[in-house]
Structures are given as C-alpha cells and as structure tokens.
C-alpha cells in the first residue's frame, strides 16, 4: 500500500501574540506542523505498522519551516519526504496547493490513500482535501475522528454539524483527519537519529506541470468587537431579579439569544 500525507507548517496559534494594535506578531510565532496534520500522519503510520505501507510526506513550499516540517515527518516515521518547490507558499491560492498535491500524486503515484489534516492550524479552510479528491477523482471522507484501514477499504467515523456519520470507502481515497482522531507519536531519539541521513527530496512545479497562482490583493481584516460595558446591579435579591430580566431583554435586543 502507498500513502501520501499532505502536510502544512502553520503558525502555532497557541503561542501567537499580538501588538497593542491587535496585529499578530507572526515573526515571533513558532511555525510547526498543525495538530490535525500530525494526526493524519499518525493514521498513515498506524497503517504502515499494521498492514505495511510506504508513507510519503509532502508539503507545498520551500521555506525552512517546510523543510523542517518534512524532516519532522521523517523523524516520526515517514519513509519519504518531499517539498514541492514553490516560492512564497504562504501566499498562493488553495486551488494551487490542491493542484500541486494532486499532480504530485499522479507523477509519483499510484497511491491508495491521501491523508491530510481536516484543516490547517491557522486558516482552517478545510478545502484542500476535498479539492485534491475532486482533482484526482478519488473518493472522499472528510473530518474523520476515527479511521480504520483494511486491505482494500477504510471505515471512518466523522462528526458533522448535524450528527455523526459512519462511512466505508474503497481505495483510492482522500481521508481528512481531525485532531481528535488519535494522539500523534512523538519522535524518539532513535527515530530522530535514524532520520538524520534521510533526504528531503525536492520537486519543482515544472516537473508537475503546474502553474502557480498567487493571491493578489490581500487585505487584513480585523474583527474587533467594542465592549459596551453595561453594568447591572445585583447586590440583593430584588436587584438581582430585576437585573436578570434586564439582562435577558438586553441579550435579546442584541440578537445574542
């Protein structure tokens, strides 16, 4: 079995700080593989352990963070690691990213499964997996909280807004995995040392027949909600009861409830 895991290094939003104007301080924020992406890799490594598989980690971009992300994947246990050499990868359209991964799958394939995180830690658009599936013509299972892979097919439990769905899917398939799916392994020292001499392979857009579309006009939109500082008195039984009524009226007027 051959498996691709598509990975994206993202800002670790849990460590993101903002300046006094509310602008995120991206330069000081660590960049790391997103949690859901790590879970996607873990699913692939579980298949490797149970059924035997070659796990190929790939990312779109050539920055130090992209190279490190792939090296981290190799240390976790991926067999091969690729960067698709696109400049300014933070600033390309989602369809370009999806196209790059799909073309990579065609050129280096065939593959049985493409695993990816259900959403990136920063943008969380959740569209790369479905786009790759459409471009490749593979079946799609999105937002899997639990995955079980057998020889020719996989079952997955997916939590959607309206309930939980259980799917069975034959290969080839794209499966996007949530950060609830598993507890990704932490590379051991032996694994880190073993991966020391593993090469991060490079593949250029021209080898994949790709045209790269960059985002043009990027606008930073701030979502700032002004505080209204409405204070209601609740110092005794009477004022508390009155305030409850006032609070409910206020929240209804504001459209909160």
């Amino acid at each position: 079995m051959r498996i691709i895991v598509a990975l994206k290094p993202t800002y670790d939003v849990s460590q993101l700080k903002f300046d006094s104007e509310g602008v995120p301080l991206l330069d000081t924020c660590p960049v790391t593989l997103g949690e859901a992406d790590k879970c996607a890799l873990e699913e692939a490594l579980k298949v490797k352990g149970s059924l035997g598989a070659t796990v190929v980690a790939v990312t779109v971009g050539q920055s130090e963070a992209h190279i490190k992300g792939i090296k981290d994947a190799l240390a976790m246990g991926a067999d091969e690691g690729y960067i698709i050499k696109i400049n300014n990868a933070w600033n390309i359209s989602s369809i370009t990213v999806a196209n790059a991964i799909a073309r990579f799958a065609v050129v280096t394939g065939p593959y049985d499964i493409v695993f990816t995180g259900s959403g990136a830690g920063d943008t969380h658009s959740s569209i790369i997996g479905p786009m790759v599936s459409a471009l490749l013509g593979y079946r799609l299972v999105a937002n899997a909280d639990k995955v079980e892979v057998k020889e020719q097919k996989a079952t997955a439990k997916c939590t959607m807004e309206d309930g939980t769905y259980n799917y069975e899917v034959e290969f080839p398939a794209v499966i996007t995995v949530t950060s609830e799916a598993n507890e990704p392994r932490i590379p051991t020292l032996k694994a880190i040392l073993r991966s020391k001499n593993m090469q991060v392979k490079e593949i250029g857009p021209e080898q994949l027949g790709l045209s790269v579309e960059e985002y043009k006009d990027i606008k930073v939109i701030k979502h700032m909600v002004e505080r209204k500082r409405v204070i209601m008195e609740a110092s005794d039984q009477k004022s508390t009861e009155e305030s409850v009524v006032k609070l409910l009226t206020f929240l209804k007027d504001e459209g909160v409830i």
Binding site: K71, A75, I186, T188, L189, K190
Partner: protein, 411 residues
C-alpha cells in the same frame, strides 16, 4: 568552536518538550503533592527512549550521548521544576552509562535493557550514615566466598529506594563497598551491582527505609541495611580495589546531569518571574519590570543562568568528545574541573533565581498556590549533596587549579 546545537539535538529537545507538555506538565504539581511518580509515567519515559540515552544500543540503550541526556534532563526539569522526574531520569541515564563502561558483559546484558525500558531502576549506592563526601571512609564490606561476594553494611540518603520495590522488575544500585575489611582509604574499594529486587522478587537481606524529605517529593530517598547479601562475582563492577576510581568517574557523569536538572528548573523559574514582572503593575500602572531594582537583578540572574548552561553543556561535550571516545590526549581526571564547575554553578544559580523570583511574586510567591517553592526546595537539595556536595566541587576545582600540593583533604 561551535556554540550551536546540531539539528538533531534541537529536534530531540523539541520532541522531549512535546512529551513533557503532554505527559509531565499536567501532573508535576500532583507528583510533588502526592510524593510519587506514577509508574505509568516511568514506563512512558522508558518507551519514549528517555532512559539509557548514552548507553550503547547493544545493551538496550539509545546509542546517544551525554549532550542528548543533558538536553532531556534539562527539558524535563523545565516542565517538572520540583525536579523529581528529572532526577529519576538523570539517574536512569548516568549510572546505567557508568555500568555500561565498567560492568561485566553479563551484568550489562542482564540489567541495562530493563532499565532502558523503564521496568527497572538503577542508581548509586555510595553514601552511608556517617557521610557521603568521604567515600574512602565507607564501612560497607564485601568479603569473597568462592565465586560469590557476601556484603554487609548500611547505605543512607539513596535515591530510588521505594521505586525499586514498586517497579515490576525491581532494580538496584552501583554499590560502593570496601574489599574484605573496613579500613579508611581509596585503594581497597570494589564496586558491585546490588539488586535488592530483581525479576519482581524482593530480597529479605536488604532492608529499606524511606525518609521524609522537605522537597522534590516525587522521587524517594531512603536507606537500606545489607545483611549477608550474596553477589555473584560476575556482578562485580570492574577490577577488585579499583572501585574508587570507577565511582568517581560515575560521579562525573552524573554530576553533569544533576546540573542539567537544576538549570532546567531555574529556567522555568526565571521565565515565570519574567512573565510576572511584565504583567504586575504598580505606581500608576508601571510594570515592575520597569524598575531597575527588578530588571538589573533579572539581568544578573539571566547572566548566571546562561553561564551555568555553558558549564553544563561544555562538560557534557567533554564527556562525549574526550571521555566516551577514549581520546588519546585525554585522562579521565581532565573532566574533574569542567564537571565540578557545572555541578557547583547549576544548583547555586537555581536557588538564587528561586529566591529572587519568590520576592518578585511578593506575598503570592510565599503561598503554596504559586508553586514556586516546590522548585526552590527541589533544586536546593542539590546545593547540599547528590553525586558530591558543593564543598567537594570547590575542593576539586581548587585542587586541580591551584595544585594538589597546596590543596589536599588528607593534610
């Protein structure tokens, strides 16, 4: 000269950090409060490959080195500033390495894989009730009887006494003993592997006691009486009457890691202090970090911590690049000063940082809620002893630098 960690060392530190955030940080206060490192955590540390890091792979070790072991111990102490888990880890790296260097093939094959997996403990049994610094003055005696040795004596202030009884396999010590009779001197000492519990079976000939300590409660300290305990000759460590030299080299290994634990904990304290002095505002909204009485002291302590780090990693680097590689330009004693510098500077820097951070936190710092005291008491332990007291470190440095004809403890 290269002051940067390698890519693999950085990646390893990140992996240990991730491990600690997941499995240690949420539990460190509970570990100190309950006075117990959960056995599932010990097993997990073993599974993650954080024990026996510098031990060769053929003995179940990780095939790493002392720099990597120091990174692991420092990072664990950052996430367990009370340092119990870090100390447990350092013991499971330092003394297994010493055994892998001096022990018999049979002892190494038998013991080290079980230590590496987390199923057994292996520490040091040197100190006795009458003292720890005077190794030449120990009174425990091993007498030869055919192909066995019969050991009698008493050890005190020993780490891991309770853990040995709790672990599924058990464990033991790098035991330091007099050969045949208890006369003062360093040329009549032989070391042994003493296993009070092995294959899950506790010997009745070793009677342990656990002490009630004031800090770093998670790992036990205690003593044990040894009565006619028989050890096979193949569990003798190295040559007869060379044990003093082996244990001194073992101390040098372990001291590096003790110092690494203290700087990890100190780094946590200084980070916590920095966070507090940025946030805490006085006198019309000025952060207390804006006052020179605070920020100058911060700078001084930061410099001390950086110096301590350099001592630790320089000593670890020397162990890796001279001692463990048997460099022909090198004698084991060349490690004495670099290691003593690290062991002297690390714990003393840590306690100084804790004292100051406690003051920055004001009355809150003096509450149990702040948890700062846990790290203070934990690291303070290592200004007293553990693989050599602070005065022994001073003695080693003075003796080697000024000259032993001027500085000698034997007059």
């Amino acid at each position: 000269m290269n002051y940067e960690f390698s890519e693999e060392e950085k990646r390893f530190r990140e992996s240990v950090e991730e491990f600690c955030k997941r499995y240690i940080e949420p539990r460190w206060v509970e570990i100190d409060e309950k006075g117990h490192i959960p056995l599932d955590l010990i097993k997990r540390l073993g599974e993650q490959g954080l024990f026996a890091i510098p031990v060769p792979e053929k003995y179940g070790g990780m095939g790493g080195n002392m720099t990597l072991a120091a990174i692991a111990v420092e990072e664990i102490a950052y996430h367990d500033p009370a340092v119990a888990v870090a100390v447990y880890t350092l013991l499971q790296n330092g003394w297994p390495l010493a055994l892998s260097i001096f022990g018999s093939e049979a002892a190494k094959q038998e013991i080290l894989p079980k230590v590496a997996s987390g199923d057994a403990f292996f520490g040091i049994g040197s100190t006795e009730p009458q003292g720890g610094s005077d190794v030449a003055g120990i009174k425990t005696v091993a007498k030869r009887s055919g192909n066995k040795w019969v050991i009698n004596g008493e050890k005190a202030y020993i780490s891991g006494v309770r853990e040995i009884s709790e672990l599924p396999e058990g464990g033991g010590y790098f035991l330091v003993s007099k050969t045949e009779k208890a006369e003062w001197g360093h040329k009549n000492i032989t070391d042994f592997v003493l296993l009070p519990k092995w294959h899950g079976k506790m010997s009745e000939k070793v009677k342990p006691t656990v002490y009630d300590e004031i800090g770093r409660h998670g790992i036990s300290t205690g003593g044990f009486k040894i009565e006619d305990f028989e050890v096979d000759d193949e569990f003798r460590i190295g040559e007869i009457n060379k044990g003093f030299y082996y244990v001194m080299e073992g101390f040098n290994i372990a001291r590096v890691l003790v110092a690494a634990a203290t700087i990890g904990s100190a780094r946590w304290a200084l980070d916590k202090g920095a966070e507090w002095i940025r946030e805490r505002k006085l006198f019309q909204g000025k952060p207390i970090a804006s006052f020179q009485g605070v920020n100058f002291r911060f700078a001084e302590l930061y410099a001390e911590l950086e110096a301590a780090k350099y001592f630790v990693y320089r000593a670890a680097w020397m162990v890796d690049n001279t001692y463990l590689t048997n460099s022909p330009r090198f004698k084991p004693r060349d490690l004495d000063v670099p290691v003593a510098l690290a062991k002297m500077k690390g714990p003393e820097t840590a306690t100084r940082i804790y004292e100051e951070v406690l003051k920055w936190l004001g009355a809150y710092g003096y509450t149990k809620e702040s948890n700062v005291y846990r790290g203070w008491l934990g690291t303070f332990s290592y200004t007293i002893g553990a693989e050599g007291s602070q005065n022994i470190m001073r003695y080693v440095i003075a003796r080697e630098v000024i000259g032993k004809e001027y500085v000698s403890h034997t007059g």
